[in-house]
Each structure stands twice: as structure tokens, then as C-alpha cells.
């Protein structure tokens, strides 16, 4: 039988039972729609988290001090990272390109009658590159200003707005914990990271910070940038051995610091989010399975209802394969049409969710995969009813009431 005729006949028998067809399709619509929406949500979440991590800087490593202790007795403090450590890391680990010491705390900051309380961060000029900041206005302080303990400050955009509103802060003098600082630059906004808002901070030279604001010489952390193609494991190990030597740790002693690797975090997070996405998709996939069972159920009913029609078709010359093809086609059409509607619904829903402050990204490959699965389910669950129809004995089928 000609292919298009078969399709036409299948479409017509589907159209003859519109409500039943629609209800059968609903299973596929919901199944495919939810799979696509869930995968889009999962993918969006992954992209969001990864871009947050990447925004912290490129090839970032950060050394943090760590409490250590045996049997509850603390034998190391968090006051153990020094500028000397930072210099040693830059000098002794060839893959480390840039280093900045970082120390800071919250301080009261005033400009005329405006008052704000924000994180004041002492750092080197390299922080800009290591932490992936850009200057929106003015400039960053330079090495000479760091060496000279200059009273210069670079403001986060929120801090600048809090103190100056719409006025131009460049060249103005602000007061940080009783010290006069000249504003020389404004950072470009990065958006809040949740646990730390990089837009609400003031950067000053670490030397000025140590000697005149904070009154301490140990660091909160050391941020480093690796060469682009460096082997993270190797660089980490080298950093660890440099620091252990400098901290006079013996073999077997626990390290009194911890090195955070952005690369490893990225890998871990993307593994976790991928698993989560798959899990979401699999849960939604169960509804696809249920939809498939619905198709099988309805097709079995249809075959019974149309036993006589099958008998007539066989009597006038339909082969078993003609009958098989006809009923398979009906099942596949239901599942594919349902899949297409479901895909449209899933994409629409994903876009809707996207506008509700979530991130949902539909991937074309996921749409294609979901629809192929829908077609596959139509074939799988449509086969048995169609096979039953094809095997009917024409004499008995013609006699069926």
C-alpha cells in the first residue's frame, strides 16, 4: 500500500476519535514537555553556577589559612599567611603568573555627611587581573603607590553610589576608619555572588591597609593566577610543598592552610549539576513511560473495536504487514504528534520559567532526543497491539460482532 495513503487513513481514524486521541496524546505531551523543561532547568542551573564560578577569575588558586589540631587542641592559628609566603609562591612555582595578598575587614566609611559600612580590602594591583575585575572609571593603584603606602582607594560601584550618588567620585576624598583616602577608580559591576558582594567593597594597597587601617600583618588569603595550560594537580602540589617548607611543617604534620582551585571546583560542580540534570530528566521520563503504556492500552481497545474492519481489509487483500503498518503508524503518529506538542509546550514553559528569575536553557539536542524517545515509545508500545491486529484470522475477524 502506498505510504501516503496509509498516513492519510491513519490520520483519519485518529480524527474520528478526537477526544480519545487527544487524551492518549496528553500522556506524551506531558511526558515530553516535562522532560524538556526539567533538562532546560538543570542545564540553566549548571550554566548559572559555572558562570558564577568563572566570574571569580581565570585559573584561580587561593590559599586560605586552616585551623589544625590534635584531639581538640589547636596547634596552629589562622594567623600564618604572610606576604613572604605570597612572594615565595610567585618566585618558586614557575606556573604561578600573578599573586596578590589579600586582607580586609568591615570599616566605617564616610564622605561629607554620607556614611556607609563596607568591606575594605587590602591587596596588590594584580588583584584586578587575578579576580577578574575591570575598572569602569578612573584607574587602579599601581606598584609605586603600594610601595609608598599611598592613601588611594578604588570603590565598588554600589559603595560609590552609596557615598556619592550620581556625583563623580574620582578625585574626591573619603574617610576610612579616620584616614583620608583619595578615590582614584570605580570598579565595573559584577553582580552579587550571594555570600560576598564584589560591588560593595573598597580596594586599597595592602601595605596601607596593614600599617594604617588593620594593624596586622597576617593575610586572609593569597590569590594566585596560574598559566593557562598549567596542570592543576602539579601546580597545587608545588604550592603545597613551598608553603609547608616555609611553615616548617614536618612530614606527617597536617597542613595549616588550604588551597582552593577554581578548576577543580568547576569540575566538581559541573559533575554534580550534570547528575542532577539527568536525575530531573529521568523523573520526568517516567511520565513518558506512563504515556507509552496509555498508548498501548488505547491501541489494544482500538484493535478490538475494529476487528471486523481488519477482517474486511484482509479479505480484500491486505497482507499482515499492511495491517501491522497501519496500526503501528497510528500509534507512532499519536506519540510523535504528542511529542511535538509536548516539545512546543516544554520550550514555552522553559521560556516562561526563564522570565521568573530562574535560568532555563533549552538545548536543541534535548528537544530532538525527547522527540526521538517519544517516537521510540510509539514504536515500542504500538508494536504489540498492531501485531495482534495483524495476526487476526480473517474468517473469525469477519464474523466478529
Amino acid at each position: 500500500m502506498l505510504f501516503w495513503t496509509t498516513i492519510k487513513l491513519a490520520l483519519r481514524s485518529l480524527a474520528a476519535n478526537k477526544l480519545r486521541t487527544l487524551l492518549t496524546m496528553l500522556g506524551m505531551i506531558i511526558g515530553v514537555g516535562s522532560v524538556i523543561t526539567m533538562l532546560a532547568l538543570g542545564h540553566g542551573m549548571q550554566q548559572q553556577v559555572l558562570s558564577n564560578i568563572s566570574a571569580m577569575g581565570k585559573n584561580l588558586l587561593a590559599v586560605h589559612p586552616k585551623w589544625t589540631g590534635t584531639n581538640g587542641v589547636i596547634n596552629a592559628t589562622r594567623e600564618n599567611l604572610t606576604v613572604g609566603d605570597a612572594r615565595a609562591l610567585l618566585r618558586d612555582v614557575p606556573q604561578i603568573r600573578r599573586v596578590t595578598p589579600v586582607l580586609g575587614q568591615r570599616e566605617q566609611v564616610t564622605y561629607l555627611n554620607k556614611n556607609t559600612n563596607c568591606e575594605v580590602v587590602g591587596c596588590a594591583t594584580t588583584l584586578l587581573v587575578v579576580r577578574n575585575y575591570t575598572i569602569a572609571k578612573g584607574r587602579m593603584f599601581n606598584h609605586f603607590e603600594t610601595r609608598l603606602e599611598s592613601h588611594v582607594a578604588v570603590l565598588g560601584p554600589e559603595t560609590a553610589y552609596d557615598l556619592f550618588g550620581v556625583l563623580n567620585p574620582i578625585g574626591q576624598t573619603i574617610n576610612i576608619a579616620g584616614n583620608q583616602f583619595e578615590v582614584i577608580g570605580i570598579l565595573k559591576s559584577k553582580g552579587s555572588r550571594g555570600w560576598f558582594n564584589p560591588d560593595n567593597q573598597i580596594l586599597i594597597p595592602y601595605t596601607t591597609g596593614m600599617d594604617q587601617i588593620f594593624g596586622r600583618f597576617y593575610l586572609d588569603h593569597i590569590d594566585m593566577q596560574m598559566a593557562g595550560k598549567a596542570n592543576v594537580e602539579k601546580v597545587l602540589n608545588e604550592c603545597i610543598s613551598v608553603l609547608r617548607r616555609r611553615h616548617h611543617l614536618l612530614f606527617g604534620d597536617p597542613s595549616d592552610f588550604h588551597i582552593f582551585s577554581q578548576e577543580q571546583l568547576l569540575q566538581t560542580v559541573s559533575r554534580v549539576t550534570e547528575t542532577l540534570t539527568l536525575f530531573l530528566g529521568a523523573v520526568a521520563g517516567i511520565s513518558l513511560l506512563v504515556g507509552g503504556i496509555g498508548i498501548m492500552n488505547i491501541m489494544l481497545v482500538t484493535v478490538t473495536e475494529r476487528t471486523r474492519e481488519i477482517g474486511v481489509r484482509k479479505a480484500i487483500g491486505a497482507c499482515n504487514s499492511d495491517i501491522l503498518r497501519q496500526f503501528m503508524l497510528e500509534a507512532v503518529l499519536v506519540s510523535v504528534l504528542g511529542g511535538a506538542l509536548g516539545a512546543a509546550m516544554g520550550v514555552a514553559l522553559s521560556h516562561f520559567i526563564h522570565f521568573q528569575k530562574f535560568v532555563a536553557q533549552v538545548q536543541t539536542s534535548n528537544v530532538v532526543i525527547a522527540m526521538s524517545i517519544a517516537a521510540g515509545i510509539g514504536i515500542f508500545f504500538g508494536y504489540y497491539p498492531a501485531w495482534r491486529a495483524a495476526q487476526l484470522n480473517p474468517i473469525e475477524a469477519l464474523r466478529y460482532e
Binding site: 500500500m1 502506498l2 483519519r12 481489509r313 480484500i316 487483500g317 491486505a318 504487514s321 499492511d322 480473517p394
Partner: protein, 263 residues
Amino acid sequence: MRPVELMTHTTPEPARLQSRAGAVAAAAGPGLIRTHNVVKRYLVGGTEVRALDGVTLTIHEGELVAITGSSGSGKSTLMNILGCLDSPDSGDYFIAGEDVSKLKSDQLARIRNRRIGFVFQSFNLLPRLSSVENVELPLLYAGRHHAAAKAREALEIVGLGDRLDHEPNQLSGGQRQRVAIARAIVTDPAIILADEPTGNLDSRSGDEILKLFETLHQQGRTILIVTHDPDIAAFCPREINMRDGKVLRDGAPAAGLTAHGGD
């Protein structure tokens, strides 16, 4: 006008089949339809029942034959076998010289499609399909082209040229049976098998259907009517009377020309 000839070119056969068919036909002797000692057994409650018990008959091209018998006489079983809906347990069955007694189900479907035209008591048209679509269905299963044009032609032969796009539920019983007859003749089959074709019709429509069979018979078609109605049997030149799975009588109708004498 002989529309039959218009359609004869639509059943081309490969040369190989033709030569083989010719050889078998020579062995089987003349006759469009030949059965030899056909037996069909059924198991009913553990006991074997011979629905057909050695049926041998020959039907020539252009004959109009009635198969009669009471229920249980085996006439339905005979019709199923002659219509290639079923295969005999033993014995031979030739259509136009081709042995069809040992074919598999899909091969039988092909024979039904090309060689047999069925007309049923309850019409058995497919609902929701128009007359033309119902009639072109056998051509579609044969994979033929221009099916719609041939279907229209067949509907004109049965006098339904003005009901082409009507669905079965828009037609009267007599008209439905005409559509069914058009569906039976559209493939230009070797034989038309009609099973109680007037059983569901009032006498007037029934007469019209019989007249249509008469016309088709005059055009040279081979027609077999299975019936228990002696009037219909009397209407046919030849009657095969069945009883207990055997041919009881084969010849001119017993009831003679009395029933149709006044016609």
C-alpha cells in the same frame, strides 16, 4: 459497452508465473476454478467433524453459480476455501490453473486481492470512508496507480456514479451493497464470491442487486452466490447443493424456473 475489457490490462503477470500457471493448468485440466477432493476438518469438543468431505467441482469462466445447503452443510466452509480465506487440509484447489491450496497467509492475501471479489451479507464497507475510497481500497493494497479513477469507473458500472463521495451511513442498504459490489469488481477478479448478498435487504433492493449480478454475468464475469434462498438459487443457471460436507447435487436449480418463470 463492455467495461470488463477496459480493466483487463490492469492485471499484468510476470511471464514466469504465466508459463508455470499454464503448465499446471494443463495438468489440472480446463476450468477457471477446480477443486479436487477437498477436505476440511474441525475439532468440535474433541471429536473431528468433516466440514468438507471430498468436494470436487469445476466452475468455468463466465458461469453464475449458486451454492446452497442448510446451515451446517459446509457451504460456508466451502466459500471460505474458494475465497482463499482458509486452506484445505487435503485436496487441491486451482484458480486459473494456479495451485492455491498450499499457500501461506500473505500469499493467500495476494490471491484474494487479485483473484477474488467478496460481497458480504452485511456489506462490510469501512465507515467514514466515501464510496470511492471504499472501492479503491483493494487497488491501494495492490499498490496500483490511478486507483480513484478506476474506483469511479466501477461505481458507474453499478449505477452509483452520483454517490461517489457519500459515506456508507448516507446510503441505503441497496446502495451500500452496490458499493460493495463495485469494490468486488474493481480489481477485475477471476471470480466474485457473494455470501447471502440479499440477506440484509428488502425484497425490492434484493431484486435490484440480483439484476445487477445478472448484468455482470452477461458481461462475462464469473459469479458464485452462497445462499439458502431457493428463489435466488432458481435465478442462477447452475446450483451446487451441499449436505454434510459433500456435493449432493450439481446442475440446473431444483426449484426449476417456477419462481422466476413470471419474471
